[in-house]
């Protein structure tokens, strides 16, 4: 007997349809899975056998062949257990379900037949909808996240044993409540009020958030660089519903969505030993890296100078284009990664800075260390903030301005940018042509021209200053860039080493 079922395999952050064909016929008893399964798929044999038996079904002692079509696509992960079991039951005559070919199934099976959550339930539900399925059967745990996909019935199933009842219409699954999508920062997110004193750093954070500019903080350890970076998401404008769904899709594909509600913009701080693949994604099938996990949020690279050079190099293209593209034999995947880059570094290997008499770093070592700040990645950084150790009175002083107030100004500035540049765009993304069309006061133009001539700025540095000045003007609500805004921008801009 032959039966088929529809399921999916996760590829990057999207799900690709897979048709499970099960043939049960006479011959030596055996169970073969063909169609480029990976180790986890191949092991489905044992799980499915045990689950069937433990749920009171009979495991047919005949020759069983499971084919996963299309045969050319690599199938990965344990999410195909449920579909294989359902098709096997149908093929051996133990399950009468005429709708089986019209629904999609995904889920891992435990040996007792209960279902376990899979990664990428949201992508699976969306792919099922695109593929024209009437409903998608998923582990109960995945229900709320899959319910975020509109336009498809999600049928949560807690055990293989209840599949028969579902087929016979003996029980009606409750449609799960979709996960609440938090657009703004959730309550537990750290607040900018914790940053005491350090007005310059606050200003730099605010400008960075307002224009989407990438930020580099340089200062001794313990000066508050990491603290400031972790608070950046809380002053970014709330996510648009579409953006929140993008974030949820990525989190779902990484299995980070089940259970806890998703709060606002992501904040990712990978350790500096991370490999290029860990940072931008990789593997077969491609798995999203930190850059993609930080999509619509903040990617924080602490100790920038300690990162592997190849990791930083790998980040350069994605930072420019807003997507990671991974090319594998015969296919090309692109993963979204529009994040804000925030980096922190010490002034020298020992961290104290050359001005400190305690600093014992050899000048050559300092030069080598700082040389890492001039790579291609640093070239994409707009703002430099020199962070200094706050004094005792500053730390003991009152709390700073809370995130909510700053966020209000940032949101207003972003709205102004969207009106000028089009929806979803910010000043950091202005092309050189657009940057040069910014409305500029004569005094501001003169200041820029003078510094440009005096310090032999590069064309890139010139445009960077214009973008920053435009953001500061947007924050101030000014129509044109004034001299004060230009001066602030020139102070905040990242300097070239040399």
């Amino acid at each position: 007997m032959l039966a088929t079922a529809r399921t999916f395999t996760l590829d990057g952050i999207s799900a690709r349809p897979v048709r499970v064909e099960v043939d049960v016929h006479r011959g030596l008893p055996g169970f073969a899975i063909v169609g480029l399964p990976d180790a986890a798929v191949r092991e489905a044999r044992e799980r499915v056998r045990a689950a069937l038996v433990n749920c009171g079904f009979e495991f047919p002692l005949r020759r069983i062949v499971v084919n996963l079509a299309p045969a050319s696509l690599r199938k990965a992960g344990p999410g195909m257990d449920l579909a294989i079991a359902a098709a096997l039951l149908s093929a051996s005559g133990q399950l009468e379900w005429e709708a089986l070919s019209r629904v999609a199934l995904a889920g891992e099976l435990a040996l007792d037949g209960s279902t376990r959550a899979v990664h990428g339930a949201l992508a699976i539900a969306e792919a099922a909808r695109e593929g024209g399925a009437e409903a998608v059967v998923l582990p109960a745990e995945n229900g709320p996240e899959a319910a975020l996909a509109v336009g498809i019935d999600v049928l949560p199933l807690d055990s293989l044993g209840r599949l028969q009842g579902l087929a016979a219409g003996e029980w009606e699954p409750l449609r799960p409540e979709p996960l609440p999508l938090e657009l703004g920062a959730v309550g537990a997110a750290p607040d900018l009020a914790d940053l005491r004193g350090q007005p310059h750093l606050r200003h730099a954070l605010e400008v960075a958030a307002a224009g989407g500019h990438s930020l580099l903080m340089i200062g001794p350890p313990g000066a508050g660089k990491s603290l400031a970076a972790a608070r950046l998401p809380s002053i970014l404008p709330p996510l648009a519903p579409v953006e929140a769904l993008e974030v949820a899709r990525i989190a779902s594909a990484c299995g980070r969505l089940t259970g806890s509600p998703l709060g606002g913009r992501p904040f990712r701080a990978p350790h500096h030993t991370i490999s290029p693949a860990g940072l931008i994604g990789g593997g077969t099938p491609p798995r999203p890296g930190e850059a993609t996990l930080a999509h619509r949020g903040v990617l924080f690279l602490d100790e920038l100078c300690e990162f592997r050079r190849d990791s930083l190099e790998a980040l350069r293209g994605p930072l420019e284009s807003g997507e990671v593209s991974i090319v594998r034999v015969g296919s090309r995947r692109s993963l979204p990664c529009r994040f804000m880059l925030v980096a922190a570094a010490n002034p020298c290997p020992c961290g104290r800075g050359e001005a400190d008499p305690e600093c014992s770093c050899a000048p050559a070592a300092v030069q080598r260390y700082q040389g890492r700040l001039s790579g291609a990645l640093a070239d994409r950084i707009d703002i430099l903030a020199a962070v200094r150790q706050p004094s005792a009175s500053e730390i003991g002083g009152g709390a700073g301005e809370p995130s909510a107030d700053v966020r209000e100004r940032v949101t207003a500035a972003r709205e102004r940018q969207e009106r000028r540049l089009g929806s979803g765009r910010c000043n950091a993304e202005m092309t050189p042509g657009e940057a040069r069309e910014c409305a500029l006061d004569p005094a501001a133009g003169a200041l820029l021209a003078e510094l440009y001539a005096r310090q032999r700025l590069s064309g890139r540095a010139h445009d960077r200053a214009l973008r920053l000045a435009q953001t500061i003007a947007d924050l101030a609500g000014a129509e044109a860039i004034g001299e004060a805004e230009m001066a602030q921008a020139l102070q905040l801009r990242r300097r070239d080493l040399g």
Partner: protein, 376 residues
């Protein structure tokens, strides 16, 4: 102007030095009697006999067999030119020395060589592993001396040398790099872009033919040219035993002025110049000190008083003077919003009162505010 020209004998000497490079390397130990400037006093035959007795005849014959045509081709291929001690272009300041280079191979504008005279030329040398203080001072000296019309000579090395060249280039002035390898060989390689800029607007010279590689002994050798070219040699930062001090000794031997920039007595990088000062070298705090020592007090003044400052800028400048280097620090000490301070610092930067490091920290330049602002 005189055409750069060199006689075949002198060019042969340059080729011989390149050919004998590895042999001289073994003999030139730096001990008295076998320092490279001393070895270079010897004639071709003596030098060959001292450094490579076994192969001397063979190598000398090989050098003698080089056709004149080949020198010309090599020079034009490397876009270099040569002048020798018998020509007009050769600087008089080099000619007198017993160990004078026979030929100078140049890359860049030959007219600059003609313009070199001791009282218009300053050599700035110092440690390769210079601290940010040394680099800053070297750049400032290079800038100010070049804008005062002096030619700045240095050795293109890391640290002080490179900064002195950059300062002179910043000011749009004249600068000459003396190399210990062929002038077409940008050494160290990391200074290739600097080498290119110098050869475009200034001059790169060497006593070695195009393509010659550097040896340990070639650096003291080029130091003697640097010391001889200038009326004054200034040591910015150098450890107690350093190649820069060789240049200082050579300059003193030639009867040139010797200056040193003081540094913290606890700083190892400043031990060399501090020792020189203790031994009677001229104290160099800024370019004015150099000009006073070379040309006589007050003979040439460096215009360094900047434009007037308003109250706000003067207060910010005072805070930087007091040692606040970060925007946050200045804002905290004055109690003003950071955005205002940021704008003020940029205005001061434009006026030339402060400079900003690549790490975003501010420091004062040597520029002093006009008297009216000082009273505030």
């Amino acid at each position: 102007m005189a055409e750069p020209r060199a006689c075949p004998d002198c060019l042969r000497r340059a080729a011989l030095l390149a050919l004998f490079g590895p042999y001289i390397e073994k003999v030139a130990t730096g001990a008295p009697g076998s320092r490279s400037p001393e070895l270079l006093r010897l004639s071709n035959e003596e030098l060959a006999e001292v450094t490579a007795p076994k192969v001397a005849a063979q190598l000398l014959a090989r050098v003698a067999a080089i056709p004149e045509r080949q020198f010309e081709d090599e020079l034009s291929d490397a876009r270099c030119w040569a002048c020798c001690r018998h020509g007009d272009l050769y600087p008089d300041s080099l000619r007198d020395a017993p160990d004078a280079a026979w030929a100078l191979i140049g890359h860049g504008d030959p007219r600059l060589l003609e313009a070199i005279e001791p009282f218009g030329t300053v050599t700035i040398v110092g440690a390769r592993r210079a601290t940010s203080y040394g680099r800053e001072i070297a750049r400032e000296l290079g800038r100010e001396l070049a804008s005062a019309g002096m030619t700045v000579v240095s050795g293109l090395a890391f640290g002080v040398d490179g900064c002195a060249h950059r300062g002179a280039l910043d000011a749009g002035g004249r600068t000459v790099a003396v190399l210990g390898c062929g002038p077409d060989n940008a050494y160290p390689a990391a200074h290739r872009s600097l080498w290119r800029r110098i050869s475009e607007v200034g001059l790169v010279i060497s006593e070695f033919p195009p393509g010659a590689q550097p040896w340990r002994w070639t650096f003291p050798a080029r130091n003697r040219i640097m010391a001889a070219l200038a009326g004054m040699t200034v040591v910015v930062e150098a450890a107690a035993r350093s190649g820069s001090l060789i240049t200082a000794d050579l300059a003193a031997d030639l009867g040139r002025d010797l200056g040193a920039v003081p540094g913290p007595v606890s700083s190892r990088a400043s031990a060399g110049p501090n020792n020189l000062l203790a031994g009677g070298a001229c104290l160099v705090r800024d370019a004015q000190d150099v000009l006073d020592a070379m040309l006589g007090p007050g003979a040439r003044r460096i215009e360094r008083s900047g434009s007037a400052l308003d109250l706000g800028l003067a207060a910010v400048l005072a805070a930087v003077d007091a040692g606040e280097s970060s925007c946050d620090g200045v804002a905290a000490s004055l109690g003003l919003p950071a955005a205002e301070i940021a704008a003020a610092l940029v205005r001061l930067e434009v006026l030339g009162y402060v400079s900003c490091s690549p790490l975003g920290l501010y420091s004062r330049t040597l520029l002093a505010p006009p008297p009216s602002a000082l009273s505030i």
